[in-house]
């Protein structure tokens, strides 16, 4: 690639790429997101390549095999979409590939068994754009993820990429950029929801004063079950780079960092490649497109501490110090990296910037609610049919998100709660299914938008155990600098553990609430301040479950092992011996053809017998 010297050269180059990349050309896209790779998508695309050659599908029927970023519908991986028709196949195995090539590619026939079946209507759906999981979404940031090769900058540019940067460099003043971001209503997608435009203007003013500063992309996503930042970095890294370039121009900054966790090797690889390609093309570096604007972007790897997602700890980590937060003020906009004004935004915030510039601030501000603009990306996981990445306009209800897009709860179970915002967030019960997903509405109910993790619990989930899970996480991730978080989270966790073990005391609930509000009010950083939220919100909405554990020594969801017993229903048991043979504790006795029994002394409550029994004869109480 030749370095593009001027804005005109960029325009010409983009036009040439657009002519090359006919959007209607035949292509088989295979999801290369981490979820689908785990399901074996790497073998699937290799199989497509060799099968196309073998069956002679080059010539007129030439199909390109493209490995893309995450399509979002991770539950159904590996995902294959045949374009331009948009035929959507899910759970594709290597063995299916020859048939797809001979039937669908050469024969123009769809393969019924690979089609997605709508769990609500029972209908088979052929096209990706008709799958309810996608139809209810509004994909802006994830729009291109399913049809873009992240390893090719030319594809991103052919699809209109870097046009926003070119437009800004051509005719916008930095003030105009900031004012557009302000009036778009974009708020920080890392969780706090502070106005991005205001944050930029604070940093820009300080950069002007001191003459220097930095911008940082926070890609240290670490919430259990959250992977939206990862998918943006893996699938469309240039959108983040373009956003950072525009931000750097607006704030007058010439050096940026992407702080990304080392546990995301594919995202790191794709990002590094993207940076290298942008540098070679002259979109990063000195005098970009002859505009006089310089910007360098470097990658810094996080070493696996959750707290390094907190901005002051992140700064310490980039500087090479221990990743511990420090008190604010001073805020990074005033004194951040190496004491210089620093603006830190989340991956999704940066990726939203080119969209705002391209479509206009007014257009963006029309999406969402009065105070929460644009779209949110949630990673919807847990007890839900359509596990995956979902991008929705702000203000959509939790019910739409879980039932229309998420496809409801598996095996006809009842929805119980949704933990929104990861370990810092709160748990909302079914009575709040109509809550609007925006910053204010969620906060008023004790949850937060957070970074966008959404874990669904069904009727079989014990809410005390659920809260304990998140508390275990924050307790382990506490950096230990301040006392309320270091010892307080440990005290909360041990109290919860006692309750789950049936050793809860009547005053434990009061202690948890007192301690929770203390940790919230007195901890040094947001990790500590938000860590009691899962406990406090479950205490608010599911207090009776805590009370059942403490006063009745009973786990209503039958999860907490010390509080449950397994027994065999002699009416139903056929004496097939399956449970007996598989019981690791040797706790099941019985003769063939005769009802078995479980010895509670030896039973470890692992549940294997119950899962294996074809006659529903194993009961839990």
């Amino acid at each position: 690639m030749n370095r593009l010297q001027t804005l005109e050269e960029f325009d010409q180059w983009q036009l040439a790429r657009q002519q090359e990349y006919n959007p209607d050309r035949p292509v088989i896209t295979v999801c290369g997101g981490t979820g689908c790779r785990v399901y074996g998508s790497e073998k699937v695309w290799e199989a497509f390549r060799s099968e196309l050659t073998r069956q002679g599908a080059d010539g007129d029927l030439y199909y390109d095999v493209k490995v893309t970023g995450c399509h979002g519908f991770c539950e159904r991986g590996p995902l294959v979409v045949i374009r331009p028709q948009g035929i959507f196949y899910s759970h594709v195995k290597v063995e299916d590939v020859p048939e797809i090539v001979s039937e669908t590619i050469l024969g123009s026939r769809t393969i019924e068994r690979l089609l997605y079946v709508d769990p609500v209507s029972g209908e088979k759906i052929i096209h990706e754009h008709d799958v309810p999981f996608y139809t209810h979404q509004k994909r802006l940031i994830l729009e291109k993820n399913g049809n873009l090769d992240p390893a090719e900058i030319s594809e991103y540019i052919a699809g209109g990429g870097y046009s926003a940067l070119a437009a800004v460099l051509r005719s916008w003043t930095p003030e105009q950029v900031i004012s557009a971001v302000k009036s778009s209503g974009l708020r920080g997608r890392g969780g706090a929801g502070f106005s991005t435009g205001v944050k930029w203007s604070l940093c820009a003013a300080n950069v002007l004063k001191t003459g220097d500063g930095y911008i940082v992309c926070n890609a240290d996503e670490g919430d259990p079950g959250a992977y939206m930042d990862r998918s943006v970095m893996e699938g469309n890294p240039h959108s983040v780079i373009e956003g950072m370039l525009i931000g750097a121009y607006a704030m007058g900054v010439h050096q940026g960092f992407v702080y990304i966790r080392a546990e995301y090797p594919l995202a790191v690889k794709n990002l590094r490649l993207a940076i290298q390609q942008a540098e070679e093309l002259g979109l990063l570096g000195e005098d970009i497109l002859h505009s006089g604007f310089d910007f360098k972007l470097s990658v810094r790897l996080g070493a696996g501490a959750f707290v390094c997602g907190e901005e002051t700890a992140l700064i310490a980590s980039i500087e090479g110090r221990i990743g511990e937060p420090r008190p604010r003020p001073p805020y990074p906009a005033e004194s951040g990296l190496w004491g210089k004004p620093t603006n830190i935004n989340n991956v999704k915030t940066w990726a939203a910037v080119p969209i705002i510039i391209r479509h206009g601030a007014e257009w963006y501000a029309r999406i969402g609610t009065e105070k929460s603009k644009g779209t949110l990306i949630f990673s919807v996981v847990g007890k839900i049919n359509n596990t995956g990445l979902v991008e929705v306009p702000m203000g959509i209800t939790l019910r739409e998100l879980i039932f229309d897009i998420g496809g409801g709860i598996p095996r006809g179970k009842a929805f119980k709660a949704a933990q929104i915002g990861g370990p810092s967030g709160g748990c909302l019960p079914a009575e709040h299914l109509n809550v609007k997903m925006d910053y204010e509405s969620l906060t008023s109910l004790g949850a937060i938008v957070g970074s966008g993790g959404l874990v669904v619990a069904d009727e079989d989930t014990c809410m005390v155990d659920f809260a304990r899970y998140f508390m275990t996480f924050t307790q382990q991730e506490s950096c230990g600098k301040c006392v309320p978080c270091r010892i307080g989270t440990k005290a909360m966790l041990e109290t919860l553990t006692r309750i789950c073990n049936g050793e809860g005391q009547p005053d434990d609930l009061e202690y948890l609430e007192e301690l929770g509000s203390h940790i919230r009010a007195s901890s040094l950083c947001a990790l500590g301040q938000t860590s009691p939220n899962p406990v406090l919100s479950t205490l608010r909405y599911f207090r009776e479950e805590y009370e059942a554990h403490i006063y009745e020594k009973r786990c209503p969801a039958r999860v907490c092992k010390p509080l449950i017993t397994y027994r065999i229903d002699v009416e139903r048991c056929t004496g097939c011996m399956v449970c007996l043979r598989n019981c690791s504790g040797g706790a099941i006795q019985g003769e063939k053809g005769q009802p078995h029994s479980i010895d509670p002394e030896h039973c470890t409550r692992c549940g294997v017998c119950r899962n294996l029994c074809k006659f529903d004869a194993v009961l839990v109480a």
Binding site: P327, E477, S478, C479, G480, V483, D507, A521, S522
Partner: protein, 235 residues
Amino acid sequence: MISLTIDEQSIQVPAGRTLLEACREHGISIPTLCYHPALEPYGGCRLCMVELEIPGRPPRLVAACVYPCEEGLVVHTRSALALKSRMMTAELLLAGARGVPEIEQLAAELGVETVRFQLAETNTCVLCGLCVRACREIVGVSAISLIERGMAKKVSAPFELASSRCIGCGTCVLICPTGAFRFDEVAGFHNVEPTLEGYRRGYYRASGEIDLRPDFVQDLPALLRRQGQAGEAKG
């Protein structure tokens, strides 16, 4: 000068003061543990929490040792919220340091009567970080650091070996508020022993005439002797 209100008193301080400094200059006492006038404030122990009154918003607790005096600020150092926070923090501290006289006394002063939670192990070190910061900021050596995180956090020399950079000044021993510092573990490697002379060498080098000793360490030579004997007994 900056004007603010602390506990109903109008106070004027030069710009750049923290709330704690302003309070102490005006005779308002606030408990601290990780604070030392010779060191950069750390904000870790959370015992110096004070309440900020912000119109139209719920009251907010901040650590006085690190929060800067701002024009027009209204601060309450003895509000119910602040006192409760200090008491809860002291109770948590005591949960891990039962039997440590300094912490027992501190907790009693802050009104802790019952400790509702107990950590499995008592640790005399309360991770205030004074030793680490004194070694870096006063002595200029950085022979020790805080390693690990959360409950596993502890003071250590690199790789948990005796430090080759330690000059044996004993500043860390002296500044430790609970007598937890294990000098032999840090300095044992090259056989230095804490001496009054060494300590003077260490602290004069950087801090001039500031007296490092917290009130409760009265007899430095005796303390150093005690440390030496403990080391011998252990070795």
